[in-house]
């Protein structure tokens, strides 16, 4: 790690390794990944430049191109880590949701800057599910507004908890419109919005997709504007994925990627939620690559 090398000199070995890799031409910058051919939720026509590689402090220089060496979590591990953050470390859902939502907005701004949108101001549709993933979406919407985007939220099933009511009020008072009905036609979504954020289901998702989300996901499968999924592409099994559901262009894995991410074939895979204490990372052998400087997001290969 760069910091270790700067401080102690004990890690100087890796620097000469790095030079060797450069010389052999094995280090490549993150070109955009090829977008899978069939299915919805991708934008074949709009293939903008890849997001600026977040190499920063040689995060991925130490890993071979392709796979980052990061661990992909099972659903059980993801739930265990979550539990530990709340019960052992005493983080509150409010705190972590704020950091998670900020990561999502930041990653989206990196991959889809306002200049890449056909319309100005850049319009984004955020579809929020009934749980914490939906809460992440609400926080994301608010930060996107601060970044100059024009978000619109669809939040059909709202939990009656103070946290979610507060987040909803914050958005509404910031003039973020809430659609009472989901657009019935994919073409309508394509016309009105430059990007869709899927904040429907997260890592706790199990079993069948309940309405209205089944219909919503079927419509999203037909859109051609990019879809950015928060943590898990909705409708996917958290470990096995789902070739018959939406195929998002972007995935923002929170804290650590889940096994489903191994089936992700979109252009942009980002890591966000930079709050996992080192002791917890070590306990679960997460092998998270180092985030660049103070960034709250990291692009994974």
């Amino acid at each position: 790690r760069l910091l270790g090398a700067r401080r102690g000199g004990a890690e100087r070995g890796w620097m000469s390794g790095l030079r060797a890799l450069l010389g052999l031409g094995l280090l490549v910058s993150s070109g955009s990944r090829l977008v899978a051919a069939a299915g919805g939720g991708r934008c074949p026509a709009r293939r903008g430049p890849p997001a600026a590689a977040a190499w920063g402090r040689s995060a991925s220089a130490m890993q071979s191109p392709g796979r980052s060496g990061v661990k992909f979590l099972s659903q059980e591990e993801a739930q265990a880590i979550d539990q530990e953050l709340f019960t052992e470390y005493k983080f509150s859902v409010d705190q972590l949701m704020e950091l998670a939502g900020l990561s999502c907005a930041t990653a989206i701004a990196k991959a889809y800057p306002p200049s890449s949108f056909p319309n100005s101001p850049p319009t984004v549709l955020i579809v929020c599910g009934p749980g914490n993933n939906g809460g992440d979406g609400l926080v994301c919407a608010r930060h996107l507004k601060m970044f100059g985007y024009e978000p619109t939220v669809h939040y059909p099933k709202r939990p009656g908890k103070a946290l979610f009511e507060g987040l909803t009020t914050q958005c509404q008072k910031m003039d973020i419109p809430f659609l009472s009905e989901f657009p019935s036609e994919a073409t309508l979504i394509d016309e009105l919005y430059g990007l869709v954020v899927d904040a429907i289901f997260g890592f706790s998702f199990k079993g069948a997709v309940r309405e209205p989300f089944g219909s919503i996901l079927r419509t999203l499968e037909q859109v051609t504007v990019p879809i950015a999924s928060i943590d898990i592409p909705s409708g996917w099994d958290v470990e096995k994925g789902n070739p018959d559901s939406i195929q998002p262009d972007m995935l923002i894995s929170l804290t650590a990627p889940k096994k489903a991410a191994q089936h992700f074939a979109g252009r942009y895979h980002f890591l966000g939620g930079r709050f996992v204490p080192m002791a917890l990372q070590q306990k679960y052998s997460l092998h998270l690559p180092p985030y660049p400087k103070t960034d709250c997001v990291l692009q994974l290969p």
């Binding site: 509150s92 950091l99 400087k293 103070t294």
Partner: protein, 246 residues
Amino acid sequence: MSCPSSQSGEQIEPLRYLSRVEAEAIEKELLEDYRFGRQQLIEIWGHASAMAVSKVFPLPSLPRKQPTVLVVCGPDQNGAIGLVCARHLRVFEYEPTIFYPKRSLNSLYRDFTTQCEKMDIPFLSYLPTEVQLINDAYNLVIDAILGADAEPGEVKEPYASILATLKQIRIPIISLDVPSGWDVETGNSEGISPDVLVSLAAPKQCATRFLGRHHLLAGRFLPYDVQKKYELNLPEYPGTDCVVSL
């Protein structure tokens, strides 16, 4: 875009410096009308403060071999912001140490302490009065003792003694929101002179008396309607940054 009154980084309308009443009114509006949670706000401010610290003093710029930072936390909200700031600095690979002589009994703030402890951030049991010890051990001091909500008038112990010590140190002091011991509007010519002031959300009137090297604004979350209502005329934040130099 983000700030209607500024274009391409140039100020058209002057930045507003808040009175005590205005600062309190804004916070009240955020909590009661906008339904922000207090923990949520403290997290936003603490994170933004850590970003501000790293902007002025990036890791490679620190003079000492170890990137040590002393964070002095007061008993109320400013102290809680300091705890969150310390935690994010730890994530950014600084080595914060916290001095938190009077821990808040507020259950909302207690968890912030636990989070820091569980991340192996040491808590000093006392602050050395030997100024040289502080100068030698740390690169910077973060003053998170008293904020805009501090009672006007004399600073109570143990903070009066702590501030007297801080007045003598030679390493940079970064004050969060308001230099501790300063009146939020009129400042304090006898008080500490921080090198860096990190104004949270919007600057307070005492910031006009700030003579240090860097004044930054941190915390990019204020709804545009609040900005307009109080005529804050905040500068534009670059890109997705939550900190901007004033």
